[in-house]
Point group: C2
Chain length 768, copies 2
């Protein structure tokens, strides 16, 4: 169907205005029409993509617009044009604009979903993508990295978009600097809403990456401003700046488990941003600083509890004469006019020092170069609950100048204060759930560092020229911010706010009802089993959030084929199993992910249940991932294998779950892989996974374990084995803990089960 | 004596002009007056240093001038104010100008002669040193490094100065980037005459260094323009650019044994410079490129014979993920619109590749990363004598785009042409001793690379907007350059042009005449000995260029004390000894440098002579250096030690002479240190020293040599042992050659003297 509508009125109007160019408005509805329209497009032309769903739609938008007359490619109605299947958008030329598209239910067949180029030589300039959504547009496999938006060329813009749900490897957005056509690019990433990016389980989960170490000498001059980053939990870096002269300004980082990191490159300005935590979650971070010449000014840190790498201000140690892709020394950095409210130990220096590991790491990995010529000045700290250690020196901060910093510490004495000036301060409400100190210290002399005259405004944009004062906010009357009003960010048509929905509970009395209701239920619903036995012969597919529970006398007997699971955990499948007895035939599995095409995360929580007679209690395949896996008050018995999470062996720092929690469980006669949880590849900045085993009993387990360890958690960074009983397990070690990392054990009773050992340094594959 | 003259006329004039400020002109003649004048100086004031000699004069010039009213410190008459002894100049503040001073006969007690700061915090901005001379202002010891001009702060200038003769370690001029107060400095080094800097013998002999590897990420934006570099032979780097965004433009590099090197840092523009050689000396270099984003455009290379590191365009291999202080990969470099006339193999790629040395060097030293995304386009090569290999690939140039390059090769077939277009070209005279092709290729399509529109002018400043063409010069009518008219560079009062002077010959008939005339003679004179014996009891001091000769029947018998030399080679002492029999008493020396305070180089040439009966024929102490040492047609016999040049053991790549030449000599019964010439410290870019031993005979030598080697030349890069006879020398090796470097031997006859061995790789101390 051809449906090209030329709007003559527009040309008439133009003629009426004394102009002679005729701009056309073409509505197209398939790829051929689109390509023709693109081919014919002249400056000022508007190509309209008719409302509808476009499957396997690879757009190459090329053209030469002008500053006054861009060529546009728009959805007929913003948000009503769905790009699905194997689809992508590539743009090259000048002054091109794309708006209103919704990328969903699919993935890109290329390395990018949206690329600002159509070939290595043909890049876009002065072009933008605006008012679009990319949602869950993931590759089928987690290890198959890609990018959702890749910038090339110069002066391009990503604005007012909503982008969320990337689970596969690779930053969500990246700016590419390879080639002179892409340096000094002055790209703008503004007014977007970066919605939740789930924990990825390892590196390569940044939300925005500016360049790479290989282009870390290049001037980028990219601006990231006025965006909302909401639950961007992909990895430790939300924004990874790897080039020079970038500006990160006035963004809101809300409950995001990571930091803004000046990973490579230099002279980045991080100005006037809000880092907002909840006062509890210690994964929410602030700004981590590496390299030279960064200015960190006017930022507000609110209830940020991140530690060490994720502390509000983390200034790292460098590697002397560092290799290009590792850690340059911090020099000539300015941290000024920031305010910290109820954020623990907000200033940490020498972060990442690893001098103690000199024996197991090559010299080129030892971070011993402390910051030089760095100023931490004119900052305000407010602690409702006093903090004895607002400043932590992992290594000496002897190259740092501290001046004119003040603190309210609720009377708690400060160790190692570096001249912090104590003041009685109070909080002033400045908006929804946000109160900060804004006065009470105008008598403190402002430190006037080199070029500080360029800091002309405060966090709120108020002038600092008159009555300047320290801290992020100049005292300037009443303020009423609503930072989390999501209508201020992203598109004008999409919202990720979902209304609360009460779950529906389906009571099922037999297997066929169970199968039918499991299919019919919506995400979040509950399936309640009546008392009795449910014989299942084929795997139950879990592809949404679902709870399956009983009153305590329900039994599911799985009679399915060998090596198939009772519950097949599909993408998006988040299962809670409560109060169920689950029995196998000895050769099949209780729970398993798909072997492939795990294009999104699954989840598993097993409570008050009994799992017995399986080949595997849980088998998670290589590229499958769950943010959390929990077994609680549950017995696992008479299984050949227990909880198997060791197939992600790419040794790139990835692993199969972020949190594995085993609490008050009873393992009996599980012969091998009792708990097998693996992460490979040395990477100092990966902070997971997390293994908690507590209040549990292991008896007669591990007899067939080849390495003679009952609990295998090689490379997992956080391990806590507490208050368990290990009895009559025929192994040599209950566990070998990694002393240099956060691996601990306490109050365990070990009887006839070998020992728990700690090795300080683990010899691992270097990822670099 | 106080001599402050207030010039009221000036103020009257100002008043007459309706201005009310009074600028004063104070003439001062000692440090107290100067300091008072400086202390009292207001914008517009002129402080005048009265003509005369100022010894041990440490000037601290501080003040706050303005753009319209700088504060000046001037010589009463430019060139008549001599700063001598232990003296220095430090400047801090704004808009300060120093002019007309002559630094000579001394050295600085500080680390700089001129520094644009007075303390670590107090730097100069918008200030300049102009119309001054620094001549031979060397530290007393060669290993005592310093700088003659050190830039700090911003917007400072060194202009119209003459600077020459630095022999001690350290670049002549350096720009310091440590600290935010010194970045984006926009300093100017313009219109200067950098006169001869002698070969230093090792590294740390640059004429200008812009930053260091530790600040190689910083934007410098320094301009070096319109300077004459004449015989700047200090080391392989004339200009070592180690920061970003520098501009090196319209300079003349004349007979300078080195290159412009983008050693660290990126995005440097090398535009419109002249590299002029003599068609013979293969030490004169061009531009050596490391790192990212440099533009090398509009340059002319004329009769440059440098090879490899010194080739006209040397594009190096980098080290993958290089350490900060080593070699980053070349990426995104543009080499366009340059012209090469009679310059051998002007384009060399993969320079410095050392994959073959992977066994003896650590991985972090292996230069295996070839250039990427680099364009070599729109260049012209003219060879009067055809060159079969204009392009040399030490490693593959597979990351380089070659387009629109043309060559005239006088009919010689080209190997490996990478698309070079052959043309019949002729040379056009464009000035004194300079002729280049300027036409005959306007039919060749110009390659239009990214941003090439910014190349708006050619070498001569002619517009490229109309009738553009490839090569450095747009064909634009007759041109008459006089690049070597030295009046265009440096001061308006000093010239290094010296008139030719005929040497005076003094004939002396006895020892006292010899002693007297040696003292009285001027540099360049000749002392002729009559036939007969000259008994000398105290060392003859050589502190100028002098020739001592005879008709063949003169004998000098040195009866001086043990371990004292017949000829004491002092700074500046360059001795030619011709046709003399020189005998010692077995315990004293024939020739020796001073043990300390060798503040300038010496020289030694011994021809047609006989040296016998000494403890040492030649002993050169640790910090002494001669550019050349030559023994020709000379016998050295019955000495405990021969030629000793192995005391420079700092292992920083330094050595005691650049060229040691032994031709047609006869060594007999020299017991140890027969030839001992040492260079320590691994450094790929040190190209010396040079040992040539040819047509000579060694008999009964080396008996006491502890390491059982007759010829010791550990670490010397160029060794040629050719056509000699070695007979009955009780050693194990005549020589051990360093195969990986340029060590060769040929046509030697070795009888009962061990062997000559080649070791491919020498294990050396890494300097980094």
């Amino acid at each position: 169907m051809k449906k090209i509508v030329s709007i003559v009125i527009l040309s008439l109007l133009l003629v009426a205005c004394g102009k002679t160019e005729i701009a056309s408005l073409n509505t197209v509805s398939n790829i051929e029409e689109l390509n023709t329209a693109i081919k014919d497009a002249k400056p000022g032309d508007n190509i309209v993509l008719a409302n509808g769903t476009y499957k396997d739609f690879e757009i190459k938008f090329t053209g030469e617009g002008t500053e006054d007359k861009p060529i546009t490619l728009k959805a007929e109605t913003a948000g009503k044009v769905f790009i699905e299947g194997e689809s992508s958008l590539e743009i090259s030329g000048d002054y091109l604009e794309v708006s209103g598209l919704f990328f969903r239910n699919g993935h890109s067949p290329k390395t990018n979903v949206i690329a600002f180029r159509t070939s290595a030589k043909d890049v876009a300039n002065y072009s933008k993508v605006t008012n679009c959504v990319i949602l869950d547009f993931n590759n089928l496999e987690r290890d198959q990295d890609n990018l959702w938006v890749q910038f090339y060329g110069k002066h391009n813009e990503l604005s007012n978009c909503y982008i969320a749900g990337k689970t596969n490897g690779g930053p969500t957005v990246r700016v590419d600097l390879k080639g002179n056509q892409s340096i000094r690019n002055f790209h703008k990433i503004v007014n977007n809403h970066f919605g939740p990016r789930p924990r990825k389980g390892g590196a390569r989960g940044e939300t925005i990456q500016l360049g790479s170490s290989f282009t870390s000498m290049s001037p980028s001059n990219t601006t990231i401003a006025n965006n909302l980053f909401e639950e961007c939990n992909g990895e430790v870096e939300i924004i990874s700046s790897k080039t020079n002269f970038n500006i990160i300004k006035n963004n809101v980082f809300y409950k995001s488990e990571g930091s803004v990191v000046t990973r490579h490159g230099n002279y980045v300005t991080v100005d006037g941003n809000y880092f907002i935590g909840d006062g509890v979650n210690d994964q929410y971070g602030g700004i981590r600083i590496i390299n030279t010449g960064h200015w960190v000014i006017n930022n507000l840190f609110y209830k940020i509890k991140g530690k060490n790498f994720r502390s509000p201000i983390a200034i790292m140690n460098g590697i002397p004469k560092s290799p290009l892709n590792r850690y340059n020394q911090v020099t000539d950095v300015v941290v000024a006019y920031n305010t910290f409210v109820d954020s623990d130990s907000p200033w940490q220096f020498g972060v990442g020092t690893n001098i103690a590991q000199a024996d197991v790491l090559p010299k080129s990995e030892i971070r011993s170069a402390r910051p030089l010529r760095t100023e931490v000045v004119n900052n305000v700290i407010y602690n409702s609950v006093g903090d004895a250690n607002p400043i932590i020196e992992h290594d000496k901060a002897d190259g740092v100048t501290f001046k004119s910093n003040i603190i309210y510490n609720n009377g708690v004495k400060i160790e190692n204060s570096h001249g912090l000036i104590s003041k009685e301060l109070t909080l002033t409400d400045i908006g929804t759930d946000l109160s900060v100190p804004t006065s009470g210290y105008d008598d403190v002399e402002i430190y006037n560092g080199f070029d500080f005259k360029t800091i002309t405004e405060d966090l709120l944009g108020n002038s600092r020229s008159k009555s300047n004062q320290i801290g992020a906010i100049v005292n300037s009357g009443s303020v009423n911010l609503d930072l989390l009003d999501k209508s201020k960010y992203g598109t004008d048509w999409y919202s990720n706010v979902v209304g609360a929905k009460d779950p529906t509970t389906y009571t099922v009395a037999n297997t066929s009802e169970l199968v039918a209701k499991l299919k019919a239920a919506e995400s979040g619903d509950i399936i309640a089993l009546t008392d009795g036995v449910f014989n299942i012969s084929e795997s139950l597919v879990v592809d949404k959030t679902i709870t399956i529970q009983s009153k305590g006398n329900s039994e599911i007997i799985f009679e399915g084929a060998a090596n198939t699971p009772a519950f097949s955990l599909n993408p998006y499948g988040k299962l809670t199993l409560k109060n169920i007895k689950l029995k196998g035939n000895g050769s099949n599995y209780a729970f398993a992910s798909l072997k492939e095409n795990m294009s999104n995360h699954f989840g598993l929580e097993v409570v008050d249940s009994e799992i017995s007679n399986f080949n595997y209690a849980l088998r998670v395949y290589k590229q499958a991932y769950s943010e959390e896996i929990t077994f609680k008050n549950t017995a696992i018995s008479n299984c050949e294998n227990g909880i198997e999470l060791s197939e992600e062996t790419n040794d790139r720092g990835d692993y199969n779950t972020e949190y594995l929690t085993i609490n008050n469980c009873n393992f009996d006669n599980v012969k091998q892989n009792v708990v097998d949880y693996y992460r490979g590849g040395y990477d100092e900045s990966t902070i997971g996974g997390n293994l908690l085993i507590t209040n549990s009993t292991f008896t007669n387990c591990g007899a067939k374990e080849k390495n003679k360890r009952l609990l295998n958690h090689n490379g997992i960074v956080n391990v806590n084995i507490n208050n368990n009983t290990f009895k009559n397990n025929n192994v040599k070690f209950v566990s070998i803990l990694w002393g240099a990392k956060n691996n601990v054990e306490s109050e365990n009773t070990v009887t006839n089960s070998g020992q728990i050992k700690t090795e300080e340094n683990l010899v691992m594959t270097l990822m670099y």
